[in-house]
Symmetry: C2
Subunit: 427 residues, 2 copies
């Protein structure tokens, strides 16, 4: 049976050039003859196909959502609708985060496929951090990015109707939000076949955490907040694997988990993954580099990230606060101090959310379904377990003693202190 | 030009019987011949037509949304879509609030018209409170009602997908939410042609409040929360004019402002209007009743309302907590104390929200667009202004010193104390 032209089909190196040749701008960008274009499939994730297409004049990246879980095959179906939400997210934030996302040339709704800028020579930030490389701009860029992307999709910037339309639209991204709800906020805190951890080294630590009622209650409160506190459009998965970098340039990719939610969820994803990387560093040490200097650099990045976010968010609020939340018409010249104080308090609440969500993200990467290569690449299980146990100890402290963390300094002081205090347990 | 049968037309005593005669169950309920049914239009609100239709066997109430503001006429158009959301709200909460809303016999989508139970001999609670009548059950009923209606539309009760579908649906009720956003959270705090207050007696008090930066910042924070903290489906206008009562029976009506929002918004509407009534009582005193005993009864109702809500909400959570927020699978027998403590903290946050939203509701009824007859019926302007000033003083305290109000006792102590302290200002 013939399919309608443009109907869903799985892309491959045979049919992709014809598709791209039909897009005038993409064809011009690639240059030369379509039959000479080189197509490579480079996807390494669980869900999507990713192609690099190179022509005589340039190259593009093509990402297609499969209608099933790639790692499992067609027997595990999953709607490719996430590509729609990824594109909707890019479209919503693009006017505000110029230069910090890839250029999108074309979204093909029936193919659930995005043709976008090929980022080169960028690499995934996580890989750079594991390798001990320094990126002068990334922490400031991503702080700036989160401030812009969330401020301009919040009620602080626009009449509320705009956010409400966005909420209605992204409410359709339930399949991906379900993954977050289960894998971040529930499974890690209970027995589940989807969980794993470094065993047997971490068995006692994990069991202990899963019996820690106050910790679980705190994590559950953040889970409740994730579902209810719809402050802005969030990326939903803003870890160091969703950021591509060069020495100078930073780009946010893969927003398929996008939804309306708490701003602290994106902040916590980035921060939590920086901290996971910090705790993983002893596992990547070599004879001539114990990585302690690099750890100090990582903590500086945590500070830079938060301060960049805070500064940009407050500056945007001061200049573009034209929304229905804290309406400008209510406040006159005499109210400057009160308004400034209210804005600071609001940003303080985002800081507290960042730490709580960050802690949840750390925990789920150590004793949940999806782990991070920062730890996975540490071959020696005892070393890896030690790193992971120290990261868990910080996450527990963040969730159960939030009042010890009033400022970014409190966090920066605590990270190495917790590492020094947390000794491997007897088994 | 002929209209399609069922197309929108404004109902009247001529065309309404034919419509109802076509509804088999309604026809049977009314009894007798349609030409003998008596039809009276009794609506006294700003927006809708309300008919009572009486037959030989019974009676019904018919409410139709007009496509313009009734008080202004067709020159001020307004979508009748609110009737759809009113019906959607009743449909969503009906399974959980049995007996506390009117029975809905029929919703006619093209006519934006609801045929429902005629409540008789019920009167509007606000009228009863002004008259100094006591209703033994209403505070407990409404506390119970808010607990049931909000718990069962929150993420505590069901998988999150259900609330998310509801959020997407009620996001369409923007025209009415716009009214709340402007009239509750913005206009009262600034100069606006829509505002009015008892003048000149209250001029200084109102001007002073509009210069109070910390108060405005606190009100704005609740406005921001109203738009972002989508905990549950809320009625959106749950004041004493939206409740009909007999000595024994209580019914919630008029949920056309329904939306997803903070649970405290409904709690605050009821509480705030009880408190407005308390402060209005000196204006309704007579030679043989200074209303001080009735004021004590009102404050008992505030306590009963909160305790009924709290008790029911926690009981529902314990028995029906099957949602994605605080997932039951995370918590074992050993976590009972931690979970109990987390639930208490959550309910404490609803208490704080109730006071803040209640204060916003009080302020808007005294210096905003829409006033309450509790005050409006006090003919002597000086007396009225004194009552209003004392109510404003409490609202200011609630917003600017929330930490003075940790429990319902703190509130009940403060209400008469503030009244005693607040002396009329010199003009």
């Amino acid at each position: 049976m013939e399919r309608a032209p443009g109907a869903y089909r799985i892309l491959n190196s045979e049919n992709l050039p014809a598709l791209l040749a039909g897009m005038e701008d993409v064809r011009a960008l690639l240059g030369g003859r379509p039959e000479d274009w080189r197509v490579r499939e480079v996807g390494d994730g669980n869900l999507n196909l990713v192609f690099i297409v190179e022509g005589a004049g340039g190259s593009v990246c093509v990402k297609q959502a499969l209608p099933y879980v790639r790692a499992a095959g067609p027997s595990w179906p999953m709607s490719p609708q996430r590509a729609f939400f990824e594109n909707a997210y890019f479209t919503a934030v693009a006017p505000h985060v110029d230069g910090l996302i890839p250029r999108v040339y074309r979204y093909e709704p029936l193919l659930y496929c995005t043709v976008m800028e090929r980022l080169s020579p960028h690499i995934i930030l996580r890989q750079g951090l594991i390798a001990g490389r320094r990126y002068a701009n990334v922490a400031r860029d991503i702080g700036d990015y989160v401030a812009r992307a969330t401020f301009f999709t919040s009620d602080l910037a626009w009449p509320f109707e705009r956010k409400m339309d966005g909420i209605a639209l992204f409410a359709g991204n339930k399949a991906l939000i379900r993954i977050t709800v289960d894998l971040v906020f529930a499974d890690p805190y209970r027995q589940s076949e989807r969980n794993r951890h470094t065993s047997p080294q971490l068995d006692a630590v994990v069991a202990d955490l899963r019996r820690d009622g106050p910790l679980k209650a705190a994590a559950a409160r953040f889970g409740q907040k994730f579902l209810s506190d719809l402050q802005a459009l969030v990326h939903g998965d803003l870890h160091s694997g969703s950021i591509m970098v060069t020495e100078q340039d930073s780009r946010v990719i893969d927003p398929e988990f996008a939804c309306y939610g708490p701003i602290g969820f994106d902040l916590g994803a980035f921060l939590g993954n920086l901290l996971l990387n910090w705790y993983s560093q002893p596992g990547h040490a070599s004879a001539d580099d114990d990585r302690s200097a690099y750890q100090r650099w990582i903590l500086e990045q945590a500070r830079t990230f938060w301060e960049a976010f805070r500064g940009r968010f407050l500056a945007l609020w001061a200049e573009h606060g034209k929304g229905d939340a804290f309406p400008a018409a209510m406040f006159g010249a005499g109210d400057a101090a009160a308004l400034q104080s209210a804005r600071s308090e609001f940003v303080d609440s985002l800081f507290a959310d960042m730490l709580g969500f960050g802690a949840c993200k750390m925990i789920r990467r150590i004793q949940g379904f999806a782990h991070v290569i920062d730890f996975e690449q540490i071959r020696d299980a005892d070393t890896r377990a030690g790193c992971e146990a120290r990261a868990l100890a910080l996450a527990r402290l963040l969730l159960t003693h939030p009042r010890q963390f009033r400022s970014i300094d409190d966090l920066i002081d605590a990270v190495p202190r917790v590492a020094a205090e947390e000794r491997p347990r007897k088994r």
